[in-house]
Symmetry: C2
Amino acid sequence: MEKTYKELAPPQRILLGPGPSNVDPRVLRAMSMPLVGHLDPYFLEIMDEIMELLRYVFRTGNRLTIPISGTGSAGMETCLVNLVGEGDEVVVGLNGFFGQRMSEIVRRCGGTPIEVKAAWGAALNVESVEKALAESNAKIVALVQAETSTGVLQPLSDISRIIKNHDALLLADTVTSLGGVELEIDQYGVDISYSGTQKCLNCPPGLSPITLNERTIEFVKDREGKIQSWYFDLNLIEKYWEADRFYHHTAPISMIYALREALRIIYEEGLEKRWAQHLEASRALIKGLNAMGLETLPTKNNLPSLTAVKIPEGVSDLNVRKTLLNDFNIEIGGGLGELKGKIWRIGLMGINACERNVILVLEALERALRKEGLSVKPGEGIAAAMEAFEE
Amino acid sequence: MEKTYKELAPPQRILLGPGPSNVDPRVLRAMSMPLVGHLDPYFLEIMDEIMELLRYVFRTGNRLTIPISGTGSAGMETCLVNLVGEGDEVVVGLNGFFGQRMSEIVRRCGGTPIEVKAAWGAALNVESVEKALAESNAKIVALVQAETSTGVLQPLSDISRIIKNHDALLLADTVTSLGGVELEIDQYGVDISYSGTQKCLNCPPGLSPITLNERTIEFVKDREGKIQSWYFDLNLIEKYWEADRFYHHTAPISMIYALREALRIIYEEGLEKRWAQHLEASRALIKGLNAMGLETLPTKNNLPSLTAVKIPEGVSDLNVRKTLLNDFNIEIGGGLGELKGKIWRIGLMGINACERNVILVLEALERALRKEGLSVKPGEGIAAAMEAFEE
């Protein structure tokens, strides 16, 4: 007998991992709107609005502020492949998994990463970035504002000043911050940045919003050698998003609908209110975790959208995550790279950054830890978190 | 006063251009299902099913048959970037816009395209491909089965035999054929192929299904030098789709839901029935166009999913397309590259390959041409098309 494929019926998860996050029903509804062509007058209007709304969440006046047709990693590759050519040195901040990935991509562009290191769980310090710039010919500094692998928020303003002194460009990964964590592209002096849709924007994965200023656009145009990627060549992509609307590739229409709706929700709600909600929820979560005897990986510079928690001695990473998923329909993330098996990653992103989810994840964790033989006093985590919310 | 962004309300277009095509409501509904994580047990099942269903439409047993997280052009780049390195010669078929694009990407990979030419509107001939192979060191032949820019269907079986004789690999672009036009990856001897979702599969744009056989996988693994793209590196992507499920990038969950549903519809309906519907609809369309005095660009090897029609002398390309869009909500495509202003491209793809759309586009064209001052006898096109449907 032939195999039959059942109707799609995904379980209703509470997505508190490193992304994707849950998606507002309005965004799901936007995706179910009928398609138009990628050069349809209606779609061209949508593209203009997407650019405006992305400028709003990035806090930038940058003309070239657009979604790349791929996930966050495609955005990373887009930025690097346009900036870096054979033999170029690039200062890369290495304090987590995504810094490592940037280093790897720099190498694939034929460049040499000058790696500035900090412990996984700490932020980079300004002095080591300055030293790397002084001792190399690098004209680009690439670092991660929101390290999803460690839960560290990298302060950018001081580093940006140093970079300007060396006449270099600052490339910042804002995948896990955009729309949820304080980010001021223009005020911080970030020259180019890429993000993702499936984190604090509460949009499905599949697009990578990027922004770059005129100085960076000039840098890309003046670079020697051809950009090695055709799909990610910003000189070509720009022409489709600018007045010409010159065909490059077929835009992912439904995903663009989704992103517009996700951005519209943030615009209506107010970006600063969002930032405050993320801060409030993560502070309450950390208080709750601490009250249960759990420690966060970073001792400072905690990323509001993602909290990395150390797994207590003797507790099985996988068992706990399975309990959360099977008994509570809650997804949290495990560790990546050298932190595999050592931390959990709890994301409270966008609409997920709320009291209800803090309560649920603390209760679920408490039960899972008890199942693992740990003695956790009932309700202490939640009590501490609720107190924090009421402050 | 602050700008407000209106609710999304796209016009209901009949999408008879080169893609995107219209999407079945079932596919739109699938996209509005709640998200799960990209490593969720439920999603891993969906991934297995996607691979099975893609093997069904590609007519292949290839293990590595997966969607790439980008549009059709991303699939093109994925194939070439994994096969072609510095100094490699690649035979590229050049008889349309997308062959040109392949040539361009080969160059960006550091390779040298050995271009085999035919007129835009004709298929490549076997002898010139053989000659190019004999006179070069090329180990890859890249060509377009379904040239969306010219409406030509390239026969593959004979060319494939020649290529095998030279121990080379055949890479075929099947963006506009998959799911609508006869395609037998294994039987034709195609070694690697990429496609798109927004054509005969009636799924929104944003994914590129690809398939490659073991011989090609070995070729990629044994290649000298690093694959220049990280995002498109098949060695890494394979690990996420294989048993390991090793994290590479966050899969575009909602698009994968959509693709599964689109493939499920074809699976339920039967692939061969689909092929027959496309053939029938395109033959009727061409009879109708001819009866109205219009000629197709190809004189043979007509691509069933896309018909290229010559624009009659003195008729404005843009005016006619505007009339179709504004008066009938019908989108058709203009020409690309050297065919700009010279042809229209009418796509009857997937669920759009039906009697109703043939009638509508013929009636709309008739009226638009009359508006342009051409004397077209009322109803002759439709009458001829209906006759063809009844044969």
